[in-house]
């Protein structure tokens, strides 16, 4: 041992991450020291500016052409092309989520007050509000950024927790239907903690096999060691359980509908877009960078998971009667479509870049459509809160054609109808999968084509329930005591507008967005 050496940290490359975490810490201090009446007017600009600032830093880094070719912070964080792309997407989507969080009436006045008690009434009438929501959202966003860019498993685990712990709490803070919200929080927490224990045990097994937890280190250990070592196989299975839970893939999807339904809608929007994007980034990094040499082992497993996820998501969505639950199952189906892209690996690097670019593009378009759809859900209200039950949405097209039209458009984009962004996302992923199946020497060929067929069938089933909602909105008579459509706040209007613009714009002119995704994917992941 020759003493400690000071680590080198590339502050410039990590600046977006540090800005978000720094603002979150300042937000906590504001909660501790600022008087109550000032807090909201400090927290809102702080959160918005830090997210905008972090996005600007990402853009500056890309514009300078300074995408590094080695991992930053002593090999802990990889700020490569895909990371920067994912950071940009997460930051814009979470900006939308914060604008929705900013609306009054989503969050409980005092989470500690028992629902229906005198305490709660008092908290409501005194106009109390939990401004802690803002720093919690920032911590969750910071965790998402780090999760997608982590270059070793320890950082990935810590990022997973930094992302999840604030979300567990945020899920339980809905103002209306508090029992549902608290139940969602409990379920998400217990299952999330359970799955991260699996992730951790898998990490321990892989550490036992490779002697390191750095992703390229694991890959290197596999190139010299045995690929049949039980430690390795057990390790990657358990690691896979933890990661697939986070994206909500089929045998581990049970939490998603419950949590999406119970959580306050702005938080659902954040989870459905940001968490999925970040978790896909982490899945790609683990399976492509660390376990790339093992693809003969994990691709058949992933085949089953992807097929199951698409079918379960699409079929169970049909039977749903709650709009948020239906969107949750739709999000499960989309996770399955994305897993098809994860399986589209090649021997040749430039072809891998094509599948990576397809996944990044899919994440971009899916994220915007999701945030927009949930923003619409916040606007349709009953006296007791949001009108969740689908029957309440009947005839909405006659009462407020504009809103129903926008929502119908988002649903068509989810279904992947041509001229919406969703079509190009699905097309890109399916095309990558088919071409990976037809490469020479790949015995998975017919299977990959088969999976794409399953994907197309699942899309067709999914299209059925999306269209059913559209028919319900436009071709049935509105109920006499139907829900009211509240006028959107400035923030919600901006969110819906931008989401609509991206969904239409990318649907009509996909090339600019595809170019950005191609450029981000061209360098693949840092190894």
């Amino acid at each position: 041992m020759n003493g400690f050496e000071a680590p080198t940290i590339e502050y410039g490359q990590l600046a977006p991450l540090l800005l978000v975490f720094g603002a979150a810490c300042i937000g906590v201090l504001v909660e501790a020291f600022a008087p109550r009446y000032l807090r909201k007017s400090i927290q809102v600009p702080l959160s918005l500016l830090s997210l905008i600032g972090a996005f600007a830093l990402v853009i500056v880094q890309v514009a300078r052409g300074g995408v590094p070719t080695t991992a930053s912070a002593m090999g802990a964080v990889a700020v490569d092309g895909p990371s920067l792309f994912i950071w940009g997407v997460i930051l814009v989507l979470s900006l939308g989520a914060v604008l929705m969080v900013n609306d009054d009436g989503h969050f409980v006045a005092s989470a500690a007050a028992v629902p229906g008690s005198a305490d709660e009434e008092e908290a409501e009438t005194s106009g109390g509000a939990h401004t802690e929501v803002y720093p919690l959202v920032l911590f969750a966003v910071g965790g998402m950024l780090l999760f997608a860019a982590s270059h070793d498993l320890l950082v990935m685990f810590v990022a997973l927790e930094v992302m999840s712990l604030p979300l567990y709490l945020l899920c339980g803070l809905a103002r209306r239907r508090r029992l549902l919200s608290q139940e969602a929080s409990l379920k998400y927490f217990l299952l999330g903690a359970f799955s991260s224990a699996f992730f951790l045990y898998g990490m321990a097994m892989i550490y036992g096999y490779a002697g390191t937890v750095s992703l390229p280190g694991i890959s290197q250990a596999m190139s010299t060691g045995s690929l049949m070592d039980p430690l390795l196989l057990l390790g990657f299975s358990l690691l896979g359980v933890g990661l697939l839970f986070k994206i909500g893939a089929a045998p581990f999807h049970a939490w998603k509908p419950d949590v999406y339904q119970g959580a306050p809608t702005p938080i659902t929007a954040l989870m459905a877009s940001g968490t999925l994007v970040a978790a896909m980034g982490a899945v790609l990094r683990v399976f492509w960078v660390a376990l790339g040499n093992l693809d003969w082992d994990w691709r058949p497993v992933m085949w089953v998971v992807a097929a199951l996820t698409m079918i379960v998501g699409a079929i169970l969505a049909i039977t749903q009667t709650d709009i948020k639950r239906m969107l949750a199952y739709s999000s499960i189906a989309h996770a399955g479509f994305l897993l098809i892209g994860v399986m589209a690996t090649f021997e040749a690097a430039e072809k891998n870049a094509a599948s990576l670019s397809a996944i990044l593009f899919y994440l971009l378009v899916y994220g915007f459509t999701t945030v927009g759809a949930f923003a619409v859900v916040t606007m349709v209200r009953d006296p007791g809160g949001e009108a969740g039950h689908l029957s309440r949405w009947a005839g909405l097209g006659k009462r407020s054609p504009l809103l129903a039209g926008v929502f119908a458009f988002f649903l068509l984009a989810f279904a992947g109808i041509p001229l919406t962004s969703g079509f190009f996302g699905k097309y890109a992923v399916f095309a990558a999968a088919v071409s990976s199946g037809t490469q020479t020497g790949d015995s998975m060929g017919a299977w990959m084509t088969g999976l794409v067929v399953v994907g197309v069938i699942a899309s067709a089933i999914a299209a059925f329930f999306y269209v059913r909602v559209i028919v319900l909105m436009f071709f049935s008579e509105p109920a006499a005591d139907g829900p009211t459509v509240v006028a959107p706040s400035m923030g919600t209007a901006v969110v819906i507008g931008v989401a609509l613009l991206v969904t239409v714009g990318v649907g009509l002119f996909p090339q600019p967005a595809l170019d950005i995704a191609n450029q981000a994917a061209s360098g693949l992941f840092i190894r």
């Binding site: 989470a111 500690a112 028992v114 629902p115 320890l154 685990f157 810590v158 927790e161 712990l165 567990y168 709490l169 339980g172 508090r178 029992l179 549902l180 608290q182 139940e183 969602a184 929080s185 409990l186 379920k187 927490f189 217990l190 903690a193 359970f194 224990a197 699996f198 951790l200 045990y201 990490m203 321990a204 097994m205 550490y207 036992g208 002697g211 390191t212 937890v213 509908p257 419950d258 339904q261 119970g262 039977t319 749903q320």
Partner: protein, 98 residues
Amino acid sequence: MTTQYLILSGLIFAIGALGVLIRRNAIVVFMCVELMLNACNLAFVTFARQNGNLEGQIIAFFVMVVAAAEVVVGLAIIVTIFRTRRSASVDDANLLKY
């Protein structure tokens, strides 16, 4: 030489996982999750010994900190739901289904 420790760690992990699946009280379920995390720690330290590097021992410290943070959040959630429902049973939390 380290095999016994790994077997013990595997046993503790299995007991924890089984406990999460069969116990009904949210606090006990949560304790079982903590048991699983501790099994991970034991495995990390054992492998650190076996591999002859310190990484595993350092990871164990990180896991302890994460577990502590998880306790803070978890107990807050469980206590809130207990105050509302007067029950910490995971079977009673059954409003969200189908």
